[in-house]
Subunit: 164 residues, 8 copies
């Protein structure tokens, strides 16, 4: 189902897309193939498990899971694969994302979820983290990361100059 | 595996038993058949899903799930059954159970977890809640609940008298 | 007053209706008879107690109570009945519902409140939980729950397909 | 039952006595008549309501209520009397008293609870607050408050001197 | 300055007036004389101390202090008088009033602040609490409190009827 | 009273000394003259205000104030002086110092408190911060700060080497 | 780079300028020379370190650093200078500034950050704190601080009078 | 300095070793070469930056950083390398690790830290996550991860059986 994509960006509902598409855009920028998957830890648990179980065989290298409320999606996926799973807490409930953060990051001993910033900044950071993982065996990507870092630094300096 | 038990008390690790056995003791007091199951949302996800999927057919009426940290156990079970699932947040991490409380109670729309008090008081309350559900179609149990309530009231009054 | 309704949805003020009506709509969908009751733990405590005391005799099977701020309503009702009481924390104060969540879920040993998600998602989940309780002795409802679950899963898959 | 006491110190369980007796000791120091009452918002709700309803007629001037977990006791008493009710949050749950604080102080519009510090410092402060209320129409007490304040100041200065 | 007013409503800035005027309106309803005072714990500490020191001699019976951020106003006033001081935490900072709540309610042993609900509901509750204190020696006020309570109950019942 | 000391370390009670003496020890190490003062924002408000008002004239350059619970001490001192005031939140209440942190750091616009880490690490950091201020016009102290920084770095490297 | 400015106001991104310019405005009012610097702890770490390392030699006396999210900027600067560093937590993430507050104030033993109020009030307070430090060896500034304090007090009294 | 190790486990102080050694033990179990490094973001910032800058050239594939309080270590390292950085929040301050969690996970857009559970469970999970990254290009490690997962599952089932 996921072809020869390197990363799958999973979310439980299409209402999370405005946050999670920041991950896709970063992958576009880096030329990393990815796909989106809407699959819920609670509403489609078997499909979610099946996706996770087959991800490695399907060539997936890393999985990004974004979820709000009691965010189980990343943990449930991590339970069915030994690929690295990156969690993006989404602030969709009234608790500003503190609930989804704690429900993701506080995984018990044995099954990690690599948790990043709450919300859109997190979706982007999740994608960068995935690229960092892929770059461990892809020198081209490693170089792109260094360019990207340099461009970020230049942008900061540019803003600083325009102050004056 | 669960025979003709009415309630299964699930926990991810035997280290949660000192908390969760408060539920079993309450069932003993009410004469409700139950069993314990150690099954983890993350370490044995398939077994947990299988248990949940078959629970109704196995005659189970309600499931109590106790977990600490990012407590997904109750939600994962709830995703695989339409039986009522009662969650007991356990304060085993450094965050005093706030993490497990939010990871349980903040279930997204569609799949509820009936969450109770953090810790031992919660384990007992979970069992009382399960008895309340069973009592909806069991007049004997309903009467026992009223007796139990009366005994609690008497104990309060007894303590009040002993003040003087 | 509550006739042969199965569930009463109680709230302390009509300002909570926009949240709590999500419960009523769910019952409409399942064909479960219910009624709304505005009764306050603090402003009409005797009426609230009287309602709770008579609920079982009036044929009520489960009670849903929604409240914000220091949300005592569910606990006060639970103190006067042995029926299962489901609490919906409402985020009407400046604390985003954390106050009402803790004031509901942290019931001391002996009197449980089955607490669900803060806000509208919680109101809907409360109704599903009530249906799950009723379904323990109503095969028709049990089947409807399975259909509902299937429809939720189909909706997720539908959204996933429309991505492509 | 409460005779001609001026203040009743209510708690839901005798396990709260080690905290709440700080209130009684303060009253002893000020010569204010008081009594203790063990009565629970949840386990003996009718007795608690009855106490509150009759408190004014029984000559009670102020009520101090100490409770932990989802601390409803003060609010439930306040719902049944127009006497001032002072709430002492007790840190008996795993959440360090944050649950009982929010469950007391965040009373909805119309029924206040005068909430003080969590724990033993709060029990003492509750008693001082009650004395302040009584002193509004009792010049002797008002003078004792001033003496007490002076003694506290002297104790601070004494400690400062002993530093040197 | 405060003439023969019974209660002074103090706030540190006129920006708190939209919250605190809920207290004044309640006093208008009860016919209790009051005045407003803008005086800051930090910007006009001497004037605040002087007000507090003279309050009793000026016939003041209770003081209501509303403040946001690190809300010291109520505590500073309480340090200079033995009159009861009621604190209203105001949610003017980015922390939703949690900062002002803790800065008010957690007074150390010896100097209580009677803290109420955060925000507008709290301003109203502060005024009711002040009336409850005054009513201890004013039967007319005590009766008005009972009427007010009854009107609140009637309003709830009215809303309940209009549901049908 | 404070002679030609450069810094005064104020605390509300001698029970805070085990935390605050970490500040004094740091000053001993740097050869900065200081004294301790026990003075309470609430129990000895006039003495505290008087100390603050006279501090500058008495040659004091910076004031360190440590307090727990609703920690007003630093803010009250800051209200009576334009010297820099450094606040050390102390975790003496059940809320782990979150209450004292927020009651110190969230000072409203106009009167800052330079707040540092909760507890003993904070007491030491407060003293270093005071030395940093004094060093702005004292080259000897500025050099000592650089030596101290170097010693800290050496200690880290020493520990690293001893790993191997 | 920073000429003979006394204070540098650093921020990681120009999006923080609407908050941080409150510091600059205060310096304008006091006639303190300052400059702004956009430099990020994470995106331009070397430039940030270089700035901090050279700040003292460049005549800088105090550094103000404003940052949101996991706000490392102030701590990173403090690691490279022994000048006093003042941190302004900015509420740019979904957690209302609690994340940036804790990431600033909780500096481990040895390297303090003088942390002030979250947001705009904090930016202003940071500048006042810097002026207080500079005023330790600048009598003109010390007098301006007293005038400023008096003007704040007058403004409060003015508002109080306009109430009547 | 780090030879041909695959992972470096960095911590700011040897007092973090009792927590962080859980990571080393996991690597021992998997036969992954690693070393420990004590280097502080604040006390040895240049050495920390240098380590991070050279890590990739030194053959390091992933970096684990454990820190308490305002935990900047992981972010500071991440600012100087494009290798994946895994952060372990340590509960060494009075705030139970909430401060270090937020100071790690809430990294602003552009520089991710892969944050895991607070404390010892997190140290172990960090190591598993690092192995998962290495396993992307090391089939032997990938198989070991599957074996490890299976052993965890067996251990759960073993405990379940021993219940009976």
């Amino acid at each position: 189902m996921v072809g020869n994509k390197k990363v799958t960006i999973v979310m439980g509902s299409d209402s999370d897309m405005p946050v999670m598409e920041a991950a896709g855009k970063l992958f576009d920028e880096f030329g990393v193939e990815y796909n989106y998957l809407i699959s819920s830890a609670h509403r489609t648990p078997d499909k979610t498990a099946e996706f996770a179980r087959n991800a490695e065989a399907n060539g997936i290298k890393a999985i990004i899971a974004g979820a709000g409320f009691a965010a189980h999606l990343a943990g449930v996926i991590a339970a069915h694969t030994t690929l690295p799973v990156i969690g993006v807490p989404i602030n969709s409930s009234s608790l500003d994302g503190l609930d989804s953060l704690l429900a993701m990051v506080q995984m018990p001993s044995g099954i990690p979820v690599a948790t990043v910033t709450i919300g859109k900044a997190g979706a982007k950071n999740a994608a960068i983290l995935a690229v960092q993982m892929l770059a461990l065996s892809d020198e081209g990507l490693a170089n792109k990361l260094k360019d990207y870092r340099k461009k970020m630094a230049d942008a900061v300096e540019e803003k600083n100059k325009s102050l004056k």
